[in-house]
Point group: C2
């Protein structure tokens, strides 16, 4: 699948997934795509855990409350270590966001759907920490996001309403009309 | 160019660029790729300015000190508005990082090279603010990054040293050996 086509058709899929399993080789390729993203000063602050064990997925979904993406047969959990790249500069958020975007595109390219779930697990109820504990993640890392992966059981539509190009992008000056 | 091939060959190019111009249609496609990235609660906090006007580029490079990517005939400036998606939750950094990663892949797919320059302009000398002023960007937006775009005049090599897969990614548990 070509890059631009994938970028322009990718969407946040919130429907149910079929029971079809995601082969390990596909999961590995998706993880590798995440790790291939750049990171500030190459600090590689992002780590990843793919979960396809049914029992473990069930345990995780006992803390992901309310559940989202729970029909997927695999998820990828995104871990970050908030270390400084230099002095007081930390790019960990940029690092994991770029890794997530790479993975979302790889997921789409391999014929699956997904959705970036972050706010759902990083709120005051600290679901991410509960998930991290179930996965044995040490306290100096945060589990900030998870991506369900699977074949969609429902129609995939890019329904998100986006502002017009001219409201968000310009040439040679802020809000300049030239094109 | 296919998604996975692009993800795995993309690299931070820090060499010089040829004098070949980047056509407007390519710049527009790259901007569209950036805007197609997801954003937290669809707040679309990222805006973009492509600069290909020679005089304006020269003015910008008088404040980008020391210069980086200065031989490129076009750059894209990334703007963010740090508004909350809900309550006190702001995803603006994730939003622009995902947009940047999309653009880096689109740039590569179209046959160009680039590099994510962020720390260089967001340090204490506030180069980003000086660039923003030259572009007429209002004070409630930050210019956090720029991407030079052009055909590479030097050999492109992915020389970055990355940790092994097994040091950063696992299946069904932190640092679990299973594969």
């Amino acid at each position: 699948m070509d890059v631009l086509g994938t970028i322009f058709t990718r969407t946040s899929y919130r429907g149910t997934y079929t029971e079809e399993k995601v082969p390990r080789e596909h999961l590995k390729t998706i993880l590798e795509a995440g790790l291939a993203a750049p990171s500030g000063c190459n600090k590689q602050t992002t780590s990843l855990i793919a979960v396809d064990d049914e029992k473990l997925l069930k345990s995780l979904y006992q803390v992901i409350d309310p559940p989202v993406g729970e029909t997927a047969s695999a998820i990828i959990c995104v871990l970050t270590k908030r270390i400084n790249a230099y002095r007081d500069k930390c790019y960990a958020t940029q690092d994991y966001a770029a890794a997530i975007e790479n993975m979302l595109l790889a997921i789409k390219a391999l014929g699956y759907e997904s959705c970036w779930y972050e706010g759902h697990i990083t709120d005051e109820d600290a679901i991410g920490r509960k998930m991290a504990d179930l996965l044995g993640v040490p306290g100096d890392m945060e589990l900030v996001c998870f991506l369900p992966i699977g074949k969609p059981a429902e129609k995939v539509e890019r329904t998100v309403k986006k502002k017009e190009f001219s409201e968000r992008a310009w040439f040679n000056g802020y809000q300049r009309r030239e094109e």
